[in-house]
Amino acid sequence: MSLDFALLLTVFVPFLAAPGILALRRRPNPREALSVVTAIVTFVFSASLLPSVFTGSSPEVVVFRVAPGLAVHLRADPLGLLFATVASFLWILTTVYSIGYMRDLREHAQTRYYAFFALVIGATMGVALSANLFSLLVFYEILTVSTYPLVVHEESEDAFRAGRKYLVYTLGGGGAILAATAIVYGLAGDVSFVAGGNPALRELPTQVAQAVAFLLVAGFGVKATLVPLHGWLPSAMIAPTPVSGLLHAVAVVKAGVFGLLRTLHFFLGPGLVVGLGLQPILLAVAATTILVASLFALVQDNLKLRLAYSTISQLSYIVLGAALLSPAALLGAAFHIAAHGFAKLSMFFVAGSIFVETGKTRVSELDGIGRRMPRTMLAFTLSAMAMASLPPFAPFVSKWYLSVGAGEADQAILILVLVTSSVLNIAYFLPIVVRAFFTGEPARRAEGRPALLGPVLATAIGALVLGLWTGLPYGPYEIARFLARGMTP
């Protein structure tokens, strides 16, 4: 099978699976099986593209062309594949987890859930593997629309209110990207992604280029939860936990951050970012987001909200790394996509397991939960250590490279931001661990069923493995390093 075809299938297999899932509405077991198989197949296809990328050839395929220069055009490159393989791998675990979660809670509308989940993954793959801004935008908007039914799954008043807020923010952001796309396409005729920056943009007058840059940063910044555009994420936590986990820890918010990475390194390019005076602003926004979001996490009692704010903070590590514009920082940023994804997903899974087993959602209710669910809370503890960038977990590697990158870019003061963030992470996660294991009464062991516990442990162990075995062939570290080496400092 040609790699170009594998590329096409990586994006479209999930889209094709969705009607199949709808058709299996009355037969839950085949329906769930189809979801899992689709996830595995998607991951296998995306992973199959890895070797070729390391040799320098990039499989690509034009899906449809609307006008010259405006096409839905897929291409597999290191950054795109890093995102795609991580997201599709985590999708497998999330699907397994969803099965346990939805069945234990006897949730309604499960078919709709699995079908739209598939659409979301397809859209995420499309975002990851797009070769130009138009293509990315199309999949980006599809991502928004297909996540909506998942966010409002509960269909309560609160859910709909959260859903409205979600749409307003994300479609607003999409609009900004659309405006930027139109401006660039209209004036320069070319919106493709080129490593180091698209040369066509250098022809634009400075003020127009600044407007474009601003629109792209704001547009992607909404999904990437840059403060003050982050308001939708905490509300969206009303979604079922697997949704919050994958979508908001891995797919949706990472899509925003990914968009920023593409914008800074493949569209505007480092030269233009500096030339437009954009770098200090971006660094300031990222630093502010890292700190402010961690502060918000500190005062949340709702567990998922605490995790949500932690996500907002951690993702700006990636933005910070992207904005530093140095190879080491880019490595750290790209690797953090994987590092954070595994650890944060594990924590969301834990939150969901706790909810399924005990119905509890607040940190203040979690006394002694570690005695009841020791393995689950062990995973949480490991993930918390990962969030604080402690070795031997993967985020230690990202933070190291971000620090080196800060040095390379002469921005040593940003290290203080990373330091503060590490301390804050411990400050708001450790109390949960302490409460779980050192307070409350002894209780009978009652962990979640294997479908829940398995992914909980697998993701936490994944964060550990990625942190120790950086030499994993074609693994996230290798890809990130390859990506960074391709960047001329």
Binding site: F64, F134, E141, I142, L178, A182, G186, L187, V208
Partner: protein
């Protein structure tokens, strides 16, 4: 060649008479007249296709007595959209108007309406443009007030007559000034001759306002919501879908005599563009907080006209093809999306007997053919991919930025910001319709009602990924507009 350009108009006008007489003469006259309408519309659609196939991009003129007809890309485009939409509406009305009396009248009027549109499409001189414009208008007056037993419809119809009549009079005045200055009303010769500047400015102004009333350009728009909401749903679809656009295209045809692009005598295009921004903003703002589904759609039509007008204005001002393509494409897409939305709303109104969104909560779920398609149309109107509405907006924006510098960026941002703003009313409407409401009934709606709606939805998605066939036609139309100065 001299007969062929006449064919669509003849078919439609003749068909109107036929539908009326058949309807009165035969038992089950209502069905008979409806069937006649469907056939006639199908034939006229085909005739436009044939005309289009033979004309190419150079306009052909066919004087026949005192009437000059002109066949060019823009005309073909308008004709196809008009007859196509009309065909769908006729099929729809077959079921929708089933219980009405005076269906023969309805179908005849519908055919006359479309005849007027066809005439606007094929008119070769300003006078005939005006005549067919009036034909369309008069037919629409009657159709708006069709349910004359309802006070709402009569009031709407009356207001519509007065305002539209005012607009027509102003437009006629403008045409008069053109004749005064140039001595002819023939479009071909007008494009080469030049009017004295003051007269040209005055005429242009009157034309903009006169046709602008019909095109619902702010601040001449206030009649629209009443009219479009009170009309039967099929007619609402026509009104929002192609009638106001015909007014717009009539305006554009008329203005084109003053030159297009860099060679234009003065910046009427920029005037249109600024009016467009005003229109879209006011349209979106008023549409918020609407609880009547058809009024909401009607208001949103005002905003959407603003988008189209922006594309056309910029295109005409700076000679930018893609802006024109975007504007025209949006006419097509809007016809599909807004037309489809009105038809879907009609299905809901027909089944549940109300237009109030609060009472229709969850109705979209009970009738998925109406609810899901409505959702798709709403997303398309808000410019979300992979719908066609996204593409046409992108094209308009792409063209708008080529106005240059800060002005271009302003237009793009205004367009996109308005798109986002429109979500403020589309989303609540959507979520209301698709919410759970506890009832378990699943009413069945006739396939004649849901068929056209679903077909439109499919087209919206199809054109969103494969717009080529439509674009080829539209590019032709844009070329004739741009090259309109030279024959």
């Amino acid at each position: 060649m001299t007969v062929a350009p006449f064919l669509p108009i003849l078919l439609l006008a003749g068909g109107a008479v036929l539908a009326f007489t058949v309807g009165r003469a035969v038992r089950r006259g209502g069905d008979a007249s409806a069937a006649t309408a469907v056939v006639v519309l199908g034939a006229s659609f085909v005739s436009f296709l044939l005309l289009g196939g033979s004309s190419g991009s150079t306009p052909a003129y066919a004087p026949a007595g005192e009437v000059t007809l002109r066949v060019d890309g823009l005309g073909i485009f308008l004709g196809l959209v008009g007859t196509g939409l009309g065909l769908a509406v006729a099929l729809y009305s077959f079921a929708y108007m089933r219980h009405e009396r005076e269906r023969p009248t309805y179908n005849a009027l519908l055919l006359l309406l479309i005849a007027g549109i066809a005439g606007i499409a094929l008119a070769g001189d300003l006078f005939n443009l005006y005549v067919f414009f009036e034909l369309m208008a008069v037919a629409s007056y009657a159709l708006v007030a069709f349910h004359r037993e309802r006070a709402e419809a009569v009031e709407a119809g009356m207001k519509y007559v007065i305002i539209s009549g005012t607009g027509s009079a102003i437009a006629l005045l403008g045409i008069g000034f053109v004749y005064l200055g140039a001595g002819t009303l023939d479009l071909a010769s007008l494009s080469t001759s030049a009017l004295p500047r003051d007269l040209a400015l005055l005429a242009a102004g009157l034309l903009v306002v006169g046709f602008g009333v019909k095109a619902a350009v702010v601040p001449m728009h206030t009649w629209l919501p009443d009219a479009h909401a009170a009309a039967p749903s099929g007619i609402s679809a026509m009104l929002s879908g192609i009638v106001i656009q015909s007014g717009l295209l009539a305006m554009v045809r008329a203005l084109a005599i003053f030159g297009v692009g860099p060679s234009s005598a003065f910046s009427y295009g920029l005037l249109l563009a600024f009016l467009a921004v005003l229109t879209m903003t006011v349209g979106n703002l008023i549409a918020m907080h609407q609880r009547d589904i058809k009024r909401l759609l009607a208001y949103s039509s005002i905003a959407q006209m603003g988008y189209i007008l922006l594309g056309l204005g910029i295109g005409l001002e700076y000679g930018i093809a893609i802006a024109l393509v975007g504007g025209l494409f949006h006419i097509l897409n809007h016809a599909l999306m807004k037309g489809g939305a009105f038809l879907a709303a009609g299905v809901l109104q027909d089944t549940y007997g109300t237009r109030d969104l609060d009472k229709l909560r969850g109705a979209g779920r009970r009738i998925p053919a109406a609810g899901l398609t409505f959702a798709l149309f709403a997303l398309g109107l808000a410019g979300v991919p992979p719908t066609a509405g996204f593409l046409s907006k992108l094209f308009i924006a792409t063209g708008a930025v080529q106005a240059g510098g800060a002005l271009g960026v302003f237009f793009v941002v205004a367009l996109i910001a308005n798109s986002v703003l429109s979500l403020a009313y589309y989303v609540p409407a959507l979520t209301g319709l698709l919410a759970r409401n506890g009832t378990r009934d699943s009413p069945r709606a006739s396939w004649l009602l849901t068929g056209p709606v679903i077909a439109f939805a499919v087209l919206v998605l199809l054109l969103g990924v494969w717009p080529d066939p439509a674009l080829r036609l539209i590019e032709d139309a844009a070329r004739t507009l741009l090259g309109g100065a030279q024959t």
